[in-house]
Amino acid sequence: MPHDITLLGAYVPVLLALFFAGIVLSWVLDRILGYIGWYRLVWHPSLFRVSLFVCIFGALGLTVYR
C-alpha cells in the first residue's frame, strides 16, 4: 500500500486514515462485546479496550509498513 494519499490536494499519511478506520472497527467490536457482556469477565475493561484498539491499529498499520 502507498504511504501517502491525497485528500483535497493535500498529502495525508495512510496511517491517519487507518487510525480512523481502527477507531470505527474497535467501536463496532466494543459495542458487540458490551452487548454480549464480555466486559463483565475482564479485570480492567478500559485497559482491555485500549489494548484492543492498539492491536487493531497495529494490525492495520502492518499492511502499510512491513
Binding site: 459495542r31 452487548y35 480492567h44 485500549v50
Partner: protein
Amino acid sequence: MSTVAPPVSGWRGVWRMLANDWTVSEGPAWLHVGKTLCAALLTLWLAMRLELEQPRTAMLTVFIVMQPQSGAVLAKSFYRIGGTVIGCIITVILVGLFPQDHVWFLLAMSCWMAFCTAGATRNRNFRSYGFVLAGYTAALIGIPSMDQPNAVFDSAVTRLTEVSLGILVSTVVSAVIFPQHVASKIPQFVRGRFASFVEFIAGSLSGRIDRAGIEASNLRFVSDVIGLEAARSMGVFESPEVRLRSARLSQFNHDFMAVSTRLHALHQTLNRLRAKTDLGERRQAQSVLTAFEPYLREIAPCLSPIEAPVLQASDAHAAARRLADYRVTLPVRVAQTRADLSEQLNTQSCTQPIRQAALLDFDTAAELFYRFVDELHVYTETYASLAEAQSKHAVSGRPYVPKTGLLVSTVSGLRAVLALGLMCFFWYAVAWPAGALATIFAGVGCAIAATSPNPFRTAYQLSIGALIALPAGALVNFVLAPQVDGFPLLASILTPFLIGGLYLSTRPGIGGVGVGFLLFFGFGAVPDNPIHYDPIGYFNNMIGITAGNFAAAAAFGLLLPPTSGWWLKRIVYDLRQLAVKACVGPRWRIVHSFESASRDLMHQAGALIEDKPDAQKVALSWMFVTLEIGHAMIELRTETAALVDSAEFARDHRWALPLYDARDELAKLFENPCIEYRRSALAAIKRAIDHVQQKAGATELAPLMQDTSPLPADAASSARLEPAFGGTAPPLPLRQRQRLLRIVSYLHFMRSALLDPMTPLPGGSEFREFPLGVADAA
C-alpha cells in the same frame, strides 16, 4: 487483629489512622494531581519528540481536558476535538474571506466568538465545551496569522495535531491508570435516591416534615435529577453497562420527576386541608382528613416493608408487584370510604355547598393519591429494570438536556463581543505589540468563564492565576531553564510549579486560580520548538495575557453581571412562561419538556443564589406554583382533549368553553401576575367547576379513577349510579363521567393552589377571594 474497629494503640495505630483519614479526604485530589502531571509530562515529551512547533499547546490541552473521572475526560475530549476541528475550519474560511483586511476580519472574528460564547452559555452539558473550543481555537490561530494568510492552513493543522496528541494521552492515562469511574457510582447513587425517596414519602404523607424540610428536600431532588443526568451522560462514555441502561436511566429520572411532582401536589392538598381555619369548614376538613389518612399510612409499608426492605434494584420487582396489587384494590375501597364520608357529613349540620366542597376535597385528594400510586408503581418498575443489563421495559422519556435561556445566552455573547471590541480598539489606538494576545485572551476568558455558574468569580480567578504565573514563568524561563539540559531536567524544574497549580485547581472555591495559573504558566514557561530566548517578548506577552483576562473579568463584573439579580428575575419569568405554555402552548411538546424544564430553571436559580436564602425561597415558591398549576393544567388539557374527541361530545364543542376560558384566564395571570387577574382566574375556575359538575350529573356518587382502573370498581359504582339518572336525559357512559369528574378535581386543585397563603402570586397571604355568593353572581 479483630475485625471490628481496631483499637488505636501506640504510634503505629495513630499513624495508620492518620493515613486512612488522608486517603479518604485528600487521596482522590492527589491521585488526580499525579495522573494529570504524568499525562502532561508524557504529552510534552511526545510533542518534543515528534518535533511539533508548540509543545505547550499539547500540554495545555491536558490541563484543560483532565478531570478526576474518566468518563468526564472522554466526554470533554470528544467535544474538544469537535470544537477544535470546527474552529480550525472557521479560521481558514475567515482568513480566506478577509485576507489582510484587519477591521473586517476582527469584526467577523468577534461575531464568531460571540456566537460561540452564547452557545457555551446556552448549553450547560459537555457540549458547551465544544462551543468554547470552536471559539477560542479560531481566535488563537486566526488573530496571530491574519497578516500571513498563507501560513494559516499550516498553523491550523499544527494546532489540531497538538490538541489531538494532548487529548489522546490524557484519555489513555485517565482511563488506564487507576481509573475513577462515574459508572461504578451510578448504582449506589440510584439506590440511595430510591431509599431516601421512600423515606421522604413516609415522612411527608404523615405530615412529619414541615415546609422548610419539604423545600430542602425538593432542592435536593432537583440537584439529584441534574446529578444523575450528568453521571449518565459521562457514564455512557466509559462503561458498556451504563450504555445499555442509558435510556432506562433517563426514564428513571423522568419518572422520578413525575412522581415527586405528584407527591408534592398531594402533600399540598392535604396541608391545605390541615390548615383550614374557617370555623364553618374546619370540621368537615377534619372528617375528610380522618377518612383519608389510613390510605397514606399504607404506602410506605407497601413500597418497602420492614421485613423485606428494598435495598437494591433487584428487590424492587417485588415492591412493584405489591404496588400493582394495592392499586387494583383502591377504587372499590375509595368508593366505600367516600360513601361513608358522605353519610358522616350528612349527620353533621352543615350547608349543602360546604358539604359538596368537602366531598370535592376528598375527590381531589383521592384522584391525586391514585395517580401517585400509579406513578410510583411505574417508577419502581423502572428502578427494578435497572438490575438487568437488557430489558424490555418501555421507555418513553427523552433525555433531559439542560439549557440556559436564550436572552441570558445572547447577553453573554454580546458581552464577549463588547469585551473583544474594546480590547481591539485599545490595541489599535495605542499600537500595543502585545495587543493581539490581550484580545485573544479576553475572548478566551469570556468563553471559559461563560460555562461556569458564577462567571465573574471564574474570570477573576483566572486573571489572578495569570498574575501569579507571570513571575513564576519568568523564574523558569530566565533563571532555571538556561541551566538545564535535556528533557528529564526540564521536567524536573517544571514539576514543582505544575504540582502547585494542579493542587490549587482541585481546591473547591479557588479552583479557578489553579486553572489560570496552569494555563498561563504553561503558555509562558514551556519552551517552543526550537527554544527562543526573548525576555522582552515574554514580559510583553504575559502582561498582554493578564490584561486580557482582567478585561474579561471586568466585562462580567460591569456589563449586566449575572449575579446581580436580573438573571434571577429572568428565571422566575421563564418559570411563569412555562406555566403559560402549559396552559396555551402546543400540548404534545409541553408534556415532554415541562417537568425537566422547570427543574432545570430551578437548578440555575439555585446556582445563582446559593448564599441568599430569601431569594431561594422566592424562586422555590414560584417553582412550586408553576409545577402545581402547570401539571394540573396539562392533565386537564389531556382529559379535555380526550373528551372532545369522544363520540358523546363530538357534536357539541361548546360544552368545553368555560374550561377554555379558565385556561386563558390562568395564562393571563401567569403572563402578568396581578390581583385582578388572580381574582378573575379564580372566578373562571369556579364557573368551570360548576359547569362541568352540572354536565357530569350526579356528583354525589362517582369515585374518580383513572382509565386503567379495573372494571370491578366501574361495575360496582355504576350499579349504585343507575338510580341517580332517573331516566330523564340519556346517561353518559361511566368512563366519560369519570373523566368529567377528574377534570373537576384538577380544577379544584388549581383553585386551592391559587388560594394558598404561601403562594408568591400577588396578594400573598392577605389575598381574599370574593365571597362565594358574589363570585356566583359575577
